[in-house]
Symmetry: C2
Subunit: 223 residues, 2 copies
């Protein structure tokens, strides 16, 4: 008998929801927010645009599924012996990095109709809030504050990165923002001008975690 090929030849694998979503994520990462097209996706999958509709109801479901996949991947590892505070920081950084890698996820999360990825994030954060010993009546508020801060900053960061692709260096980018802010009209933007200096020596992720800690301090004050 002839030797079997070691790994399956990349021959015509059948189309599947999984393969479609995977290709969609790849296309979104590569070609950006407007790059996901049924025609481009079909070409990449070596088929016609109509074929995709057999596995997926439409573009909305496709985007939802793509966001689902990214968020699920970002939330896998939660160390069992971590304190709630540590676990929250790990979750926060995981989301921050995932959204940085997949900038299209942010806008999608809010629009999602069933918004299951957000519910999952809410659940994960809420468990840690519970473990912190927050009284029942304040648990919703606490988890909500953490989630919205985390997603808001992550989105903002991703949008900035997308808008300033030329400046790949992060410190260079922050320096540029700082310079723009320092030039603002002092009568209209006194505060923003004032914090412009702080921006120059500020590390995104540390700054992000400082915000998480601020909210954790607020939560602690509730006990």
């Amino acid at each position: 008998m002839a030797t079997r090929t070691r790994r399956t030849e990349r021959r015509e694998e059948p189309l599947s929801r999984e393969r479609i979503v995977e290709a969609a994520v790849d296309l979104l990462d590569t070609a950006g927010d407007g790059g996901l097209t049924f025609r481009a996706l079909a070409q990449r999958l070596a088929t016609g645009p109509g074929a995709i509709y057999w596995h997926v109801t439409g573009k909305d479901e496709l985007l939802s599924a793509a966001a689902d996949a990214v968020v699920a991947g970002a939330m896998t590892t939660v160390a069992a012996d971590a304190t709630p505070q540590q676990a929250i920081r790990v979750l926060a950084l995981g989301l921050f990095d995932a959204i940085d890698d997949h900038p299209w996820v942010g806008p999608q999360l809010a629009r999602s109709p069933r918004q299951s990825p957000m519910l999952w994030i809410f659940e994960q954060l809420g468990r840690q809030v519970q473990a912190l010993g927050v009284p029942d009546a304040a648990q919703y508020t606490s988890a909500s504050a953490l989630m919205h801060y985390i997603l808001g900053v992550s989105n903002q960061n991703a949008a900035n990165a997308r808008a300033n692709q030329p400046l790949t260096d992060r410190t260079e980018f922050l320096r540029a923002v700082s310079a723009v802010w320092a030039e603002l009209d002092p009568d209209e933007y006194p505060f923003t001008r004032n914090v412009a200096g702080h921006m120059r020596e500020h590390d995104d992720r540390e700054e992000f975690l400082a915000g998480v800690d601020l909210i954790l301090a607020g939560i602690a004050a509730l006990r």
Copy 2:
């Protein structure tokens, strides 16, 4: 001489950036996120689609300008004799209501290239943070936490309202969410199930303000 018409006849006013943006806001409010079309907008302005391009560079600028107009309108009134805490609550509620009235603003704010409306919100909140006596190094973090929480919850609320247009009654809607959450798999969503009950008797705007106060408590802890 014939009597003059009391108010100017709505005859062919010349096209202007202002009229275009106004019509765009109206169209977005009426027809929803996908309702803003150059053809529909041109029809409403009794002209051709090409005419709009003389006053506006494209759809992105149009959306930015529309969001700008809404945010500017929401941030006008800040009482001079209010405490910083009160001023922050007023700003927060103003944004909450504005985004509730114009649900398309949320997604737009994040995407905005120059994102000037967000900078303006940041500035307004930051001034109050400064007035609270927060040390310089923590002012950025504090204003950022407030802004992202406020915009996140407001967007979420607007997205929910848009998704559940049939249920106009708010308490009815919350009851529905509560019922769905209570039915979640206890192994996968223990926390969310647990707070489902709290949702039934929860007032959106009060809950929203509770979150603002939580962050204010965190800010106070920094002093």
